[in-house]
Symmetry: C2
Subunit: 235 residues, 2 copies
DNA sequence: GGACAAATTAACCCGTTGGATAAATACTGT
DNA sequence: ACAGTATTTATCCAACGGGTTAATTTGTCC
């Protein structure tokens, strides 16, 4: 195939085109929000004509929703890969924190998209039957881990898994999502590798200390000089 | 005064006008972000002619920066009111969490503005000498509290005050800022009074348990039936 | 009671933007 | 090789949006 007789001005690639459009849209929406996103810029970035956006996906709103749904699909898919059942409760929690943290680091557009969607009071998410049907496996996973932890004596208390899930997400999300302003306020680069490692360690220490009651070995002191990067990088 | 001879079409009120403009701008920017904000809407909401915005404050960008600076001024002012020095370390931490939480609840535009500014990679904040000169008193306050806590034996570990500050902010900020999407995902209204109270209790329990090593009395169990609302509402 | 500046309004300008239309070009099956 | 359809390009446009210009009104100081 692809036996081009002459010089082809362009070649067909509907699937590829659609993907490039969605990728470009993801970048655009996550970089500028809904109101700041420019349809023309998406087209240009996708190496497409503006007409293609409407042909393959739809108008700006459809485009945004497709991006949002794609973002949720992706994280849900990765979440399913993680199985915490086979780990001892403390390790399971550490793994969960590590995964969440690294997912956020690797997918900064996801953070921005969530913020953007919340600015819109989740009005698009509410319309999306697709996203609403994608349940996160984490709540049940955490419920199980906590149950096991309490039974084994590793954990002292039965936390509400939803609260714990939100807290774990929060500790990483806020740090990363607001790293720009926080870096200015504190006068340090929170995204530097050292700072990120320190943050991960702090989060793990905080949550595990609360759950197990045992002080974490590596609970960071005031301005810890040098910290090994976390052990397991799962994602 | 105000002995209007005839029917006055309008009256002068430069200061009041400026305030109304800034208030309207705050609402607009926090509701729609930078790109989504509409200058005409700000004018209308402020009961002003569009020209007034440029006359009293400046263009859209100036308007946004003024709003951002005002937001930081306000929280810094309230932060200064809080003195943690006179409280026992655990109470000081609880008070800090309570204050932060309630400030966020009472000032939802602040959360939105921070998100918006981070979407812009803090480029406006960086230009603002005003904001950069407004140091938060919290880091030093926390440093002191932690020191005292370790000395008294209340706390087991010396946490980096910056990490702790970020964590405390994170636990509340993420929950509230993302309450719209999270409510959809979890199928519960996270802003309902009960849910908010439960969240505050969880945050306090989590942080204090990690610091003191003692399990909190009220560490919420899986779906706690009814929880007393938190004891001290400071702010 | 008028002059002069400050405050406010009304009207308009013009580049941008989301979206639409129609024509051109490439691929597919027969 | 040809018809028919799928895909892409080239324009167009009406509404919108930020910003400006000029005229109008109000307060204040002599």
């Amino acid at each position: 195939m692809a036996k081009r007789k002459r010089v082809l001005k362009w070649q067909r690639d509907p699937e590829g085109m659609r993907l490039r459009i969605l990728e470009a849209a993801k970048q655009e929406f996550s970089a500028h929000g809904i109101g700041g996103a420019r349809v023309d810029r998406i087209a240009q970035e996708a190496g497409a004509n503006k007409r293609m956006l409407y042909y393959h996906v739809g108008n700006k709103e459809d485009l945004y929703l497709a991006v949002l749904e794609g973002a949720y699909e992706k994280i849900r898919a990765e979440e399913r890969e993680l199985d915490l059942e086979h780990l001892a409760p403390p390790e399971a929690i550490e793994r969960l924190i590590d995964f969440t943290w690294n997912y956020f680091i690797k997918n900064p557009e996801f953070l921005a998209l969530l913020n953007t969607e919340n600015l819109a009071k989740a009005k698009n998410l509410k319309r999306s039957t697709k996203v609403k049907s994608m349940h996160s496996p984490f709540v049940e996973m955490i419920r199980d881990v906590v149950r096991r932890g309490v039974a084994s004596g590793d954990f002292r208390v039965a936390v509400d898994p939803v609260q714990l899930y939100i807290s774990i997400a929060a500790l990483g999300f806020f740090y990363l999502s607001n790293s720009a302003t926080l870096s200015v306020i504190f006068g340090r680069d929170l995204l530097a590798k050292e700072a990120r490692d320190e943050r991960l360690q702090h989060m793990v220490a905080l949550v595990l200390a609360a759950l197990t009651g045992k002080p974490m070995p590596s609970f960071a002191k005031d301005k810890a000089p040098k910290l090994r990067s976390a052990a397991h990088h799962t994602a």
